[in-house]
């Protein structure tokens, strides 16, 4: 059994998505989904309800406060947006523990994930683009593969870093050479297993290297998330062992017609919004 196979089978032993989130996602795939029934499905889980209401009322997610019921949130923010918040609050707590292999202390992986998702959303607003509904959630999930790999990296983290420096290759390339897989591919596999929608899985799979994505798996969300990741990395948010050893895809910048001012303004907003979102997502929603 290769190391790659071992890592994948380790990933397959991980628990499924939290049950209420699975139920809600399954429910949504029904063509005749009814708002009232969806509200009831969410309200069935008190933790999820609290999180959804907190997010719906936060300034970042566009709530102006005063949303007191899930039905109200669905009405004001739209069904698709609320479902994204459900997924986010179901999965985010998974990324909260320390990940020793990447030298990430408790909460750091979650903080970085939030910064990527937030950065992608903020950037879209700054550029006057309409980000696809799943942009925040996909950004939030990008680093989830690190949870599995972190267990392996405890063994040879320094070896990975040394390879990255000695060969002058990005850290994820060092992951692939030594482990046979990088955290983006592993994360995408995990989310596919959890039956998350394909556009989210594709963003996670290619977020470090959008140029490598097949044309049919690339969209605006991927470009926004890649730049979100660049901004989070440069800001040093939730920065682990690898520091800034990943590569920038200029094509994303070009496609988004990104300007220096838009990036500066977005980075400032990410840092300002981080605390509010972190408080919401770091409570136990799962």
């Amino acid at each position: 059994m290769t190391l790659r196979d071992q890592i994948i089978s380790r990933m397959e032993q991980l628990p499924q998505m939290p049950a209420p989130v699975m139920r809600i996602m399954a429910y949504l795939s029904k063509p005749d989904a009814d708002l009232g029934e969806l509200a009831t499905a969410i309200e069935y889980d008190p933790g999820l309800t609290v999180n959804v209401l907190r997010m719906a009322n936060s300034s970042f997610f566009g709530g102006a406060g005063g949303i007191t019921t899930v039905r109200d949130a669905l009405f004001r923010l739209g069904t698709r947006r609320v479902v994204q918040l459900v997924i986010a609050s179901g999965v985010a707590p998974r990324t909260q523990p320390a990940v020793a292999g990447y030298k990430l202390n408790e909460g750091e992986l979650l903080r970085h994930s939030i910064a990527v998702g937030t950065g992608a959303e903020v950037l879209a607003r700054e550029l006057g683009l309409r980000a696809p509904d799943y942009t925040f959630t996909a950004g939030l999930l990008c680093t989830i593969g690190k949870i599995v790999l972190g267990k392996f990296l405890e063994v040879d983290a320094d070896q990975l870093l040394a390879l990255s420096y000695n060969e002058n290759i990005p850290f994820e390339e060092a992951e692939r050479r030594l482990l046979g897989i990088d955290h983006a591919e592993l994360g995408a596999m995990m989310l596919r297993r959890w039956e998350l929608p394909a556009p989210i899985v594709n963003c996670v799979r290619w977020y470090l290297d959008p140029a490598a994505a097949p044309a049919e798996e690339r969209d605006d969300a991927l470009d926004l998330i890649h730049v979100g990741h660049v901004m989070a990395t440069m800001a040093g948010i939730g920065q682990g062992l690898e520091g800034m050893r990943s590569t920038v895809c200029q094509e994303c910048f070009d496609r988004l017609k990104l300007t220096q001012d838009a990036m500066i303004a977005s980075m400032a907003q990410v840092v300002n919004a981080l605390a509010e979102i972190e408080v919401i997502l770091s409570r136990t929603g799962a």
């Binding site: 320094d158 870093l161 990005p170 660049v230 990395t233 440069m234 800001a235 040093g236 948010i237 939730g238 920065q239 682990g240 062992l241 520091g243 800034m244 050893r245 990943s246 590569t247 920038v248 895809c249 200029q250 910048f253 990104l258 220096q260 001012d261 990036m263 500066i264 303004a265 980075m267 400032a268 840092v271 300002n272």
Partner: protein
Amino acid sequence: MKNRLVVSISDMKISRRPRDMLVTHSLGSCLGLAAYDPAARVGGLIHCLLPRAVGPNVENPYMYVNVGVPLMIRKLASMGCAKEGLVFKAAGCGRMNLIQNQFDTGAQNMAMLESLFTRNGVVLAAQDVGGTIPRTLMLDVETGKVTITSQGQEWEI
């Protein structure tokens, strides 16, 4: 045992207590700047995210090199530091692989600091900037010693 005062992103702290250690973590492209007056034994540490603000409204001055650094110096002066006696040491300003210059906020942060210092005749006593390593920067208020830790290594600048 030192009392660690943590300076977060876009923040600044000043201390005159010898037992304090000013610390700022994970400087990516951000600029970390330590200022110390050996005579007054007062130290300041700032963690700037960006070179300058876009637009006139600056919510948090410490976020930006062009307004945050002068503000830190003014606050140090108001605590009895002689401006000309301050020792400045910079760290951070890292760069991601293949990023174009116009988006390289690390280089822009350093350029902004240099132009600020050049205009005011200030000389940087030490710097450890650029590259891809994540840096933690520490200033010992008792001694003025400035230390960087990164990826398990530690060195003084």
